[in-house]
């Protein structure tokens, strides 16, 4: 038997086992740790599926910021941990049978996938040279499906507006309720002073390298968000109030610039988000640079949650 296939078999079995364990685990914290581990395994699976861009995203999101978000929520709700009444057996059996049916149906779809598989890879590669990018995934994200990418950033902002709108009236515009370390901790401060410079470098590298190899604005932005949150957790910087002008500016600068480039397309090229010939790469890099910054701030504030204390005047 092929060694690589044996490895994949073990990886797949572990992935499903831990996913099931995540669902079945009794304690919330335990379930979240397992979910985090599943995110890590998924990153390895994406590597095995030759999708390194996706692996980077999954490592950053699934194993990183989502886990932090859920852990924060689980700690807040800790007193409600115990499950009052477990679901009825009939419900469990019915749901189990129906879910097994769904899984079986999807497995059948995988089994009967057409052969040879349809693919857009040759088309994507054929026109990639025009964008000046070397990474086909970045090409798809910023050239062929640029509107999707733009709307994805808008969704992030809309989610942030949604989170903020859950604030109490008197806390609007105030400081997000991110819980930081209770007392100053010298070792943590040391970490929070040393790691962010490295992290910022990695973030910039991610977006810069993203033009020609796996990486990109989103992966870079996530690293920036994590480093910012680390600084906030260590209390090296106060959590900013959401009404501060620089916060608002950083949030929108990326999407606004991207939209501006889009409208520029009307003037110099033929359509919205069309890049003028020869300028595709510089425009995409500028858009990505500002988007990286905006994504970092947006993700950080999404994790920080709705404002809870009013602005001190």
């Amino acid at each position: 038997m092929n060694v690589a296939l044996a490895f994949d078999l073990g990886l797949a079995a572990l992935l499903v086992a831990i996913a099931g364990w995540t669902i079945a685990a009794r304690a919330n914290i335990g379930a979240i740790v397992l979910f985090m581990v599943d995110g890590l395994l998924l990153a390895i699976v994406w590597v095995r599926l030759s999708a390194v861009d996706v692996a980077l995203t999954e490592a950053a999101i699934g194993g990183g910021v989502t886990s932090m978000l859920l852990l924060g929520a689980a700690t807040r709700l800790k007193d409600t941990e115990s499950n009052p009444e477990p679901a009825k057996l009939t419900l469990l059996l019915t749901a189990g049978a129906l879910c097994a049916l769904v899984s079986a149906g999807l497995a059948a779809v995988v089994f009967f996938l057409p052969d040879p598989a349809p693919t857009l890879a040759p088309v994507a590669m054929a026109n990639l040279a025009e964008t000046g990018l070397g990474n086909p995934v970045a090409g798809v994200l910023f050239a062929y499906r640029a509107l999707d990418t733009l709307l994805e950033k808008v969704v992030l902002l809309l989610a942030l507006v949604g989170v903020w709108s859950l604030a109490r009236d008197e806390a609007w515009g105030g400081v997000p309720g991110l819980r930081v370390y209770a007392r100053p901790n010298t070792i943590l401060v040391f970490l929070a002073q040393l790691l962010p410079p490295i992290g910022i470098m990695v973030g910039i590298y991610m977006f810069w390298a993203g033009a020609s190899q796996p990486g990109g604005a989103f992966q870079g932005g996530t690293v920036l968000a994590a480093m910012w949150l680390l600084v906030l957790l260590a209390r090296l910087q106060q959590v900013p109030a959401i009404s501060l002008p620089w916060v608002r500016l950083l949030l929108v600068i990326g999407p606004v610039l991207f939209v501006a480039i889009g409208f520029l397309g009307f003037l110099v090229a033929d359509a919205f988000l069309a890049y003028p010939p020869g300028y595709a790469k510089p425009l995409i890099v500028i858009a990505e640079a500002t988007l990286t910054l905006s994504i970092g701030v947006t993700l950080g504030l999404l994790v920080a949650g709705p404002p809870e204390t009013r602005l001190q005047q």
């Binding site: 490895f7 581990v37 950053a60 910021v65 490295i198 990695v202």
Partner: protein
């Protein structure tokens, strides 16, 4: 050499997966973060082994990303683990 590296990756994966039993047993949340830390290190090792076994250097970037984010999550988790017993969460509705 590639097959050996695959075997090594599989071995490390199985080992750290066994460590997950600690998540089940606990007893405290600090013990749970221990096994998460172990599997984080193991994941980095597996990714590095795969990067060399399949000669895709960009996979090293994934390992780099994982190292940074795993540290960050551990720090966040320890905030929760050390805080939850000491004080009630700060809430705006305690008025």
């Amino acid at each position: 050499m590639a097959s050996f590296l695959f075997c090594a990756a599989g071995f490390v994966l199985i080992m750290v997966a066994l460590g997950l039993v600690r998540v089940l047993r606990g007893p405290s949340d600090v013990d749970r973060i221990l096994s998460a830390q172990l599997i984080g290190t193991g994941g980095v090792a597996v990714l590095l082994l795969l990067a060399v076994a399949t000669t895709t250097p960009s996979v090293i970037d994934v390992a780099l990303m994982l190292t940074l984010l795993a540290t960050f999550v551990s720090v966040a988790f320890l905030r929760d683990a050390s805080r939850s017993e000491t004080e009630p969460p700060r809430m705006a509705d305690r008025r």
